[in-house]
Structures are given as structure tokens and as C-alpha cells.
Symmetry: C2
Subunit: 328 residues, 2 copies
Amino acid sequence: MRIRIGILGYGNLGRGIECAIRQNADMELAAVFTRRNPADVSILTKDVPVCSVSEVCNWKDKIDVMILCGGSATDLPEQTPEYVKWFNVVDSFDTHARIPEHFEHVDKAAKESGKIGIISVGWDPGMFSLNRMYANAILPKGRDYTFWGKGVSQGHSDALRRIAGVKNAKQYTIPVERALESVRAGENPELTTRQKHIRECFVVLEEGADAAEIENEIKNMPNYFADYDTTVHFVSEEELIKNHSGIPHGGFVIRSGKTGWQEENSHVIEYSLKLDSNPEFTACVIAAYARAAYKLSKEGQTGCKTVFDIAPAYLSTASGEELRKTLL
Amino acid sequence: MRIRIGILGYGNLGRGIECAIRQNADMELAAVFTRRNPADVSILTKDVPVCSVSEVCNWKDKIDVMILCGGSATDLPEQTPEYVKWFNVVDSFDTHARIPEHFEHVDKAAKESGKIGIISVGWDPGMFSLNRMYANAILPKGRDYTFWGKGVSQGHSDALRRIAGVKNAKQYTIPVERALESVRAGENPELTTRQKHIRECFVVLEEGADAAEIENEIKNMPNYFADYDTTVHFVSEEELIKNHSGIPHGGFVIRSGKTGWQEENSHVIEYSLKLDSNPEFTACVIAAYARAAYKLSKEGQTGCKTVFDIAPAYLSTASGEELRKTLL
């Protein structure tokens, strides 16, 4: 019997989950739930129902793990504690500063319902967090660096699109190569915001908009661009669609540290991701943790978990014996 | 109260453990055990006893975790199942093919004694295994590559030193840059042994030895060198000591995979280590898992575990709350 997965919210992430389920033979898509009119939502998998979120409770016994694909700003803080009353759930809550309170809410609800809720799954938070944690435990005397990119920042692209006179735009976050090299060389540099990342913008102007003025407005936008070296390219709508429609991302988590009686030896641990599709990769991580949620629940565990709390073997389809034989 | 660590076997790894304990404020070195005459073994930590292995059972209640620093060929297959009768233990058993039987032996003994035995801890097996496993769970459609180096292979250096006419030698394993680049580019190459690694040898000859003959013997040595592009440099003993006394190592674990409804998107996950001291880094990983052994034992868990079976949070001194706040 396969793990029956529900998807709640069918945007880029939801579609990514649908694709990931197709690659995991031990899983099947049971249903997709949407706030839109279900008749207006067409999914990729044949013969799987699209339902209104209002019906979700009728699926209580027909879904093993519900994957919540809403946004972190307003959806997940409400949805995860709510739906864990009915289902084992996994979310990708990524507002780092609010993770502690989100954990508390989900933990309380999950313990009451006897379900498992795994929060903040993806690559950051997620795989990057795991790698920061392992590296910190291994090298207590050291220093952490996280670089993002090259990749599309949705938040920064949205900020560009809110400027009057901007018709469309895409923003890439790019790590500064020199900074990466210094970190990799174990030089333990102190890096300012500007020294770590570059921001590159591709902007389509509305007819009659003043390019120089908009460029100036972008480069001086507080929080988003003012603290960075920012380049702005004005392009046609066709060019934006042709060359900048993807949602690639990635990044680097590096810890360098010292060992030895006099701390005479240097070590560098590096984890990096190069992703063609940010939401599809996030979805793959979530699918693996959905398997973990299923197994943990079968064992009778309850409450909120993060990637830190789950032994790696839970993510795999292989038995402990197979893992020791083939991957250890 | 700190975690009381015992070290059994005081070579490079044992000294590495001693240094690691110094960097972990929640641990203390209780005693070092040796098969040599304890009077002949001088350790770095002041006021800590060096004892004969024959006395080890007297320390049953004075040590929380015993770290076994013997070799995988003959020491650990005997020692780990034996000492887990008395102590929680961690070893770095690294004969990949024999891990399943080693696990069975340690698991049986540990379950009988009510102790925890964590085996095959280090970086390969260890952190590399973990990264292979996570990456496989995340990208089911993909391919794994492991490259080692640049680093000193003790096995290959020993093989060189066994050749008649060779006085001393050091062998470096070096990944082939072109192969690494192809893998990182997601090209999924088929790579032969020769295409993955180069072997570079620094050899000191005995007086009167025939360099050409020895070079030929090295390059054609089955298993060790014949399947590789091998370069041989003849150097003086002084040069070998001056430039090749370190024990650096490292390597790369890369998985590239496809996602999307038609597998149209590529992703590359890469984990790499660059280590000045192979044994000191291995020791750091072991120290973190010694903490896990202590915590697992306090919870009443027993039996044999590997890195796959242990939730990451067990390696850390920080509470779940702190981890969520600072590293997630």
C-alpha cells in the first residue's frame, strides 16, 4: 500500500509536489485541495480529484500525509496548526524569525490530535539548516557562511514590479565570487552585506517611463537594494520571457574551522545546491519528509518536528539493512 | 556534569579525539587505554591517567562513552562487540563491505548489555554516507559520484613502502578536475576508474635502488596503481619530511538528478570537505557522535546505530529550542 498524499494549494510548489510523487514509487497523489473553484484548476495527474478546501475534512481517512503549499506570510501560520488536527502535515514555513512560535502552535495542536507536523522543510530552511547544524556540531571552533544564488529572488522581483513605471521584472541574487573564494580558503573573512551578494535586475519599462529615474529608485531602495551593488538592465518583455522565465536558485553553506591541540589545522565543510527549479527541488525535499511523517506516525509518534529531529533513515525507502549495505 | 570520554588506542586518531574533547566544553577526557606499556605513552592532557587495556573493565562506572581508535582490519571487529559489553562505544570501522556483519555483532552485544554502539563514524563512512543518503532520498532520479582527495592515502603509501628498494613514500589521491566539472555540469558522465582519480607518488629510494625499475613496478601494481594514471616523483628523505609530512584529505559527494513532469529540470547537490588533518577531522565527527551516544543511552536506547539512525539534534550541545532559533 502506497503513502496517500494530499496537496493543499496548487501553485508552483503544489505542482512540484505532484511531480515529485510521480518519481517516488511508494507514494500516490490522493487529491489536490484548492481555494479556487476546483473546476478551474487542472492538474497533471490523471484521475485524481481536485477538491475545494472546504471539503478537506471528509478526506481524514483517505490521506496519510497532507502537504501544505501555502505562503509563509499569512497562509501557513493559520493552516499548519489547523490541518494538523486532521492530518499528518508537512509545510515549508520559511520566515526564519517566526519559526519558534510556529513550532509551538503546531506542536500543541499535533500533540492534541495525535498527528505529526513537520515544519520548515525545503532547502533554506531545510537542507541548509541541516548542514549548518552538522557542521557546527563537528567543528565547534569555526565560522558559518551562507551564500544564496545564483537564483531568482521572488521577494526582490516583486519589489521591482511595485515601482511605478515598471511593467515586469526579475531579480537575480548572485554570490560574490571573491568572497566565496576567501571563505573556501579558510581565511575567515568578515563580510559586509555588499561583499557577499550582488543583485542583478532585468526590468521591462511601461511606455514612457523614465529609465534613469527608475534605475536610481531601484539602487536606493532601502533593505532590498541599497546595501548591495546592484546592476539594472532594461529589456523588452519578449526578452524577459525568453531568457528569464525560469526559477533557478541554489547557494552555498560553508563552515571553516580549526582543530588540533593549538588549533593549528584548518578544515572547510561545504554544501552547495545548483537548482534549475527552486519549487521543484523544495518539493522533492518535502516529499522525502512526507515519507518520514508517515513512518513516524505509524510508530505512534506525535507533535511537531523539524529536520533536526528526524533520523536520516526515515527519509529513505530502503531498509536499515539496505542502507548500511549500499550507502554507508 | 560533563560527558566522561575514554580513548582506547592512542595513535593519530586517539590524539585527534583528545584534541576534539578540548574543544567541546561538555566533555572531559577520563582516561586513555593502550596496549603498549602505559609508562611509555605520554599524552597531551595534564592529570589524565594512561592505563593498560587490561584494566579497562575497572572503569565501567567512570566512563560514559569509550571511543575505540583501533584499525578496521583486525582491531575493531574484535574490540567493538567486546567493549560494548561494558561501555557505550563509538568506532570508525571503515571496511565498507564488512559493515553489515560488524553491525550485527555489535547490535547483538549492545542489546544484551543495554549499551549503545555507534559504528562507522567519520567522513567516509560517515558524513559522506549521510550526504549520499539524503541526496538519494531527495532526488530519486539521479546519479551519485564520490571523489576523494586531494589527500594522502595511507593504504597506497604503505603499498609503496613495501616495494624492495623504497625507503619511504607518500601517495596522494587527486580527483580529475575535468571529471568533477562534467559531474557538476549535470552531464551524468560514465567514468572509469582512470577518469576519476590520479595517483601521485613521492618516493625516497634506498641507496643503489633502480629508479626506472621501481617506477615501472609502481605503475603496474594491480589494484593499487595499474588502473590509474600514476606519476612518480623521486625525492630525498629531507624533501619528503619537509613537504609531505601532513595527512590532509577530503573529497566530494555529488548527486545530480532530474525533476519535473518530463524530468526537464536538473539539480546538483554537492558536499565537499577540505581537511588539513584527516584523523583530527574524523575525531571531530566521532566526538559529536559520542555526545549522541551519551544522550541516546540516557534515554534508555540500546543496540547498534549508524549515522543513518541518529537524528541530527543529538549531535549538538544546543537544545531543540536553541537550534530552531539559531540554525533552522
